[in-house]
């Protein structure tokens, strides 16, 4: 090896060796290194050969079995969902057999799968994008089937069965879908079943991609009980993804449990009709914005809900069809708004100013706080002025002294303004007793009903005002708006201004008046049952696995105070000047209850205007209450005019008796 240093010109990048053209010698050192390389090559190939020998020759058969098993799939077979029945065993939801068309993404041809899907979706008349979205959603899980159409018609099935080979990856499967024999009856409560969403997949345990699960109502709240245990089948498939032989059952599906609801199908139907009639009555009265309403009927003894109506409603059948646009009222907010949010269960989740139906709350709280003596008379006048602010009575012509029962019967606003002012004038160390009692009676918090969703409503307090009106939300006037002013207490006393409640919260409070001071737990499911199948008619041989009888909470209220209010509400429906005596006065069963006409600012699209939410809440029979009914007609006008007759219809159905005559009255 020559050791003469090679001159390198400084400053030049990567200088060239001047003698590079000289031929080279194959040195022993290079041969040694080549030898090492050669050894590496032999070692590498040797290792590969040994591994291949062990895989293919020694354990080839095991892998052959594994490869064949790849073609046999363990598929889950959904169990039959349990039926849902009303309290008398009438079936509200059961199952119908159907034929579903599905595709397995893994078996779709690599090229031309869109052409195939386009053709398939055209034949089945479903949107192509729905299917491609689903496939996209399944991502890498290419063996999970995607439903193209859940309920295919007989002719579609026949056509596809004949042309099976033209649709590699498509399968025709027997399945079952939910059947709703009564159409839109209790649609909001029953809810619906649909394929699990990405978010649910993340949040819930025990479900897998492609599972159908309850999405709303009892189907969602009691999905675990209703769904049963899926069976497992071993299915062998050919290269088109078609099952080759009868599937081998590895585990039989266990049908889901049935649910027994507290609802009464007939009363429910009457309640739904009552809402519609109430709306029509309001429309006839030129209340053009009356388009929605709700009725709740519950048993004041145990909180069992007998009927929950909310209008507008929908037919749950739309969830099993993939008709284009059928579900827009759920997914598209514009469509939902244009059709007045049919998916919203107004009875549980609607927030309304309670208006005069709240007066008994104020009265009861005032008596519990000893700031109101029920038989002392207070003036009932056309208006009430405090701190230069004037609050009007609904009836401007009145001017007399009233006791509490009369004030309730005639719904005197000014009487309750004075009670509200009493609450305002209490020393600060007494806190806000009106709100405290309202909260105790169930306002401003969820009722805990077993089938949601429900609203907490809104119970305005000093704290709430401070949190709501901040520099951010109300830059100009938050410093004034956040203060609790006399008007806040005065308006709260008649359930106006910020106060909001759901019909269910209201019904629960009237149940408390009816049962003498127990706060019941409203509930819709009375039992979980096994067996009984999907038979229609009264349940036979079904076994009750678990029944729900949520205990009522005894509030230990002053019985005398409750009696005064009960008396006032009886006079409201029976004394000549009572706000709904024209409606209930001639009904054979004694009914007691209160009207409400709550002002609410709405914006129907052509500017702000004030409309009245019509309320009626009450119970019957007066002495031994069996049913509490609360009816609300949105923008319906006077409670005595539209809400009270709606409630009467429910009582008529319940007691099986008609009012001999009735007349409505424009009364709050």
């Amino acid at each position: 090896m020559a050791s003469r240093p090679v001159p390198i010109r400084p400053g030049r990048f990567l200088p060239r060796d001047p003698r590079v053209d000289a031929p080279y010698r194959l040195t022993p050192q290079l041969m040694f290194r080549l030898g090492i390389l050669g050894f590496l090559v032999l070692a590498a190939f040797g290792v590969l050969f040994v591994r291949l020998w062990s895989l293919q020759v020694l354990s080839g058969n095991e892998f052959l079995v594994a490869a064949q098993d790849n073609l046999s799939f363990l598929e889950t077979k959904e169990a039959l969902r349990g039926p849902v029945k009303d309290r008398n065993g009438r079936v509200l939801v059961d199952n119908a057999s159907a034929t579903a068309i599905k595709v397995t993404p893994a078996f779709l041809p690599k090229r031309g799968q869109y052409a195939e899907l386009r053709r398939l979706t055209r034949i089945l008349q479903v949107p192509l994008s729905d299917v491609t979205d689903q496939i996209e959603k399944h991502g890498d899980d290419r063996l999970a089937k995607v439903i193209v159409k859940e309920v295919a018609t007989e002719s579609e099935v026949r056509f596809l069965a004949e042309h099976r080979t033209e649709f590699p990856g498509m399968t025709i499967e027997d399945t079952s879908v939910r059947r709703y024999p009564h159409g839109d009856l209790a649609a909001h409560i029953l809810g619906y079943v649909a394929e699990i969403s990405d978010r649910q997949l993340e949040q819930l345990n025990g479900y897998k991609l492609g599972d159908r699960i309850g999405q709303a109502g009892v189907e969602a709240s009691f999905d675990k009980e209703l769904r049963g245990i899926p069976g497992i089948e071993l299915v062998r498939r050919d290269s088109l993804g078609q099952p080759k032989a009868r599937p081998e059952t590895k585990q039989l599906p266990v049908p889901g449990y049935g649910l027994r609801l507290t609802l009464d199908a007939k009363l429910q139907r009457a309640a739904q009709q009552a809402v519609i009639d109430g709306i029509n009555r309001a429309q006839a009265d030129e209340k053009w914005y009356a388009k929605a309403g709700a009725v709740v009927a519950l048993d004041p003894r145990d909180g069992a809900i007998r009927a929950v109506a909310s209008y507008p409603t929908f037919d749950p059948k739309v969830f099993t069809s993939r008709r284009k646009g059928a579900l827009d009222f759920l997914t598209n907010s514009d469509v939902a708004e244009a059709s007045d949010f049919p998916a919203l269960n107004r009875a549980l989740a609607g927030r309304y100013p309670p208006g005069s139906t709240f007066k008994p709350v104020t009265a009861l709280a005032a008596m519990q706080e000893h700031i109101l003596s029920p038989y002392d008379s207070l003036p009932c006048t056309g208006s009430y002025t405090v701190a230069k602010q004037t609050f009007k009575n609904w009836d401007p012509g009145v001017n007399q002294m009233m006791t509490l029962p009369t004030a309730l019967a005639q719904s005197c606003d000014t009487y309750f303004y004075q009670v509200g002012k009493e609450f305002y004038d209490l020393p600060p160390d007494r806190g806000q007793p009106l709100q405290k009692w309202a909260r105790t009676f169930g306002f401003g918090r969820p009722t805990g009903v077993d089938v949601g969703p429900e609203t907490s409503g809104l119970l305005p307090t000093i704290k709430w005002k401070q949190a709501t009106f901040t520099k951010k939300t109300d830059p100009c006037c938050f410093e004034v708006d956040r203060l609790w002013k006399p008007g806040d207490s005065i308006q709260l006393a008649i359930g106006q201004n910020d106060m909001l409640a759901s019909p269910l919260q209201m019904a629960r409070f009237y149940a408390l008046l009816a049962n003498g001071g127990k706060l019941v737990q409203p509930h819709l499911v009375s039992a979980i049952e096994q067996g009984g199948g999907s038979t229609t008619g009264p349940a036979q041989g079904s076994l009750v696995l678990r029944s729900y009888r949520p205990a009522a909470q005894e509030l230990n209220l002053d019985p005398a105070a409750i009696d005064v209010i009960r008396q006032g509400l009886y006079e409201a429906t029976h004394s000549p000047l009572g706000t709904s005596s024209g409606v209930f006065g001639h009904f054979p069963v004694p009914i007691a209850g209160k009207t409400g006409t709550a002002e609410k600012v709405i914006d129907p699209g052509d500017g702000m205007r004030t409309e009245d939410t019509a309320w009626w809440c009450g119970w019957g029979p007066y002495e031994s209450p069996e049913l509490v009914v609360c009816a609300v007609i949105e923008n319906g006008g006077f409670g005595g005019e539209v809400a009270a007759p709606a409630a009467l219809q429910v009582f008529e159905q319940y007691f099986g008796k008609q009012a001999s005559s009735f007349e409505v009255k424009q009364a709050d």
Partner: protein, 388 residues
């Protein structure tokens, strides 16, 4: 170890003889036959593997692949005609083109599954990193040959590694982890053949192990993620395939099943369910060996591997015939690059190497790989015909 002959006498005689001898006689016919055999075998295998991939056109991939092979053969002939010294003289240009191509890739590249490795050229997709392998070989060989006298110096090794690190990093960032490994193998082989000191070789080996350990285990543990999660999962996955059969290691389990199911004589092109029902991902490209093993069995892959062994053996033989240091280093690096690609590709299908997107030379469907590898064989032939 390369040395320069100092005397005129030894130097001129072989060169004179080479000029007299006809090119044709000096071609390595065995190498040519072996490569031809692999290409033909590959086309046959591909035709069986891809017959169901495109509905209505069972020959789609074979026809395209054959066209690429023809282009590659023409390129190979061209490369044979070019004197290796041409590359040595213009090695700066070679390096410039290499860097230019790789910088252009992410700019113009088409994104496929979140990687940018391809540039769209009308009906073809051009993968610069494949051609980059050959360019890197030519550049490194020239660079090291020109500094032959200073090969023992640490600066030479550092400079070579530093210059090669640029294309390596560019490829790594595409991200194409597998090809970056091949580039690293090329650097190692070139330095090794050029005669880098053993002490430096061992330091480099140690460094390689340390980097691998950092990237795969230490880095993630302290929150430094050099690899994308999927890359790391696959690499760690191959060490423990049954850890998560549904996730990262699904591919490798399906691949091993395919290979094993092939048995001694294979399941044939229609009975190979792993391939035909798409349990085997990328069965015409990255996992083509597994498909071959499933369809043609142990006998079939033995033929293929023996042909590969023959090619590498002939390439190493070309090193001994090389007339100068440049040619020797280039031939050695090409041989080792082929070995690396074959070992990693075959190894990953049978659970012995991490899953990376390295094509199997001459077999995997893909024009760039086919043409680039044939060009490399052309360089070997060019060195061979201008032997000592």
């Amino acid at each position: 170890m390369v040395d320069y002959a100092v005397t005129e006498q030894i130097g001129t005689r072989p060169r004179a003889r080479a000029r007299e001898t006809s090119y044709l006689r000096n071609l390595d016919w065995v190498l040519l036959a072996a490569v031809g055999g692999i290409v033909a075998y590959g086309l046959w295998v591909i035709s069986g593997i891809t017959k169901d991939d495109i509905t209505g056109d069972p020959n789609y991939y074979v026809v395209r692949q054959a066209a690429y092979a023809l282009i590659g053969v023409a390129g190979m002939a061209g490369m044979t005609l070019i004197d290796p010294s041409f590359w040595r003289k213009h090695y700066r240009v070679v390096y410039g083109v290499l860097i230019f191509m790789l910088v252009l890739t992410p700019v113009l590249g088409t994104s496929v599954r979140n990687t940018r490795r391809w540039i769209d050229l009308g009906p073809f997709r051009f993968q610069p990193s494949e051609f980059g392998k050959l360019l890197l070989v030519l550049f490194l060989a020239a660079f090291l040959a020109e500094r032959g006298k200073r090969i023992y110096e640490r600066q030479t090794t550092t400079a070579a590694i530093g210059l090669a690190a640029v294309p390596m990093l560019l490829v790594f960032l595409q991200p194409d982890f597998g090809t970056a490994i091949v580039y690293a193998a090329i650097v190692g082989a070139a330095l090794f053949i050029a005669g880098t000191r053993w002490s430096q070789v061992s330091v480099l080996l140690g460094l390689g192990v340390a980097i691998a350990a950092f990237v795969l285990w230490i880095g993630p543990a302290i929150g430094v993620h050099v690899l994308k999660d999927y890359q790391r999962d696959r690499i760690v996955g191959f060490t423990n395939p049954s850890k998560d059969p549904g996730g990262a290691t699904w591919n490798i389990n399906q691949s091993i099943t395919a290979v094993g199911a092939g048995g001694v004589d294979g399941r044939g092109s229609s009975g190979a369910t792993q391939t035909n029902y798409n349990f085997l991902p990328e069965h015409a490209t990255d996992f083509v060996f597994a498909s071959t093993a499933e369809q043609r069995g142990f006998l079939g892959v033995t033929i293929l591997l023996l042909l590969f062994l023959l090619v590498i053996w002939r390439a190493l033989k070309v090193v001994t015939l090389a007339r100068d240091a440049f040619a020797a280093i280039a031939a050695g690096a090409i041989a080792f690059a082929l070995l690396t690609q074959i070992f990693i590709n075959v190894g990953m299908t049978i659970g012995m190497a991490p899953i990376t997107g390295i094509p199997l030379p001459f077999v995997s469907v893909g024009g760039s790989s086919m043409v680039a590898n044939l060009l490399a064989i052309g360089v070997l032939q060019s060195i061979c015909v201008r032997r000592r």
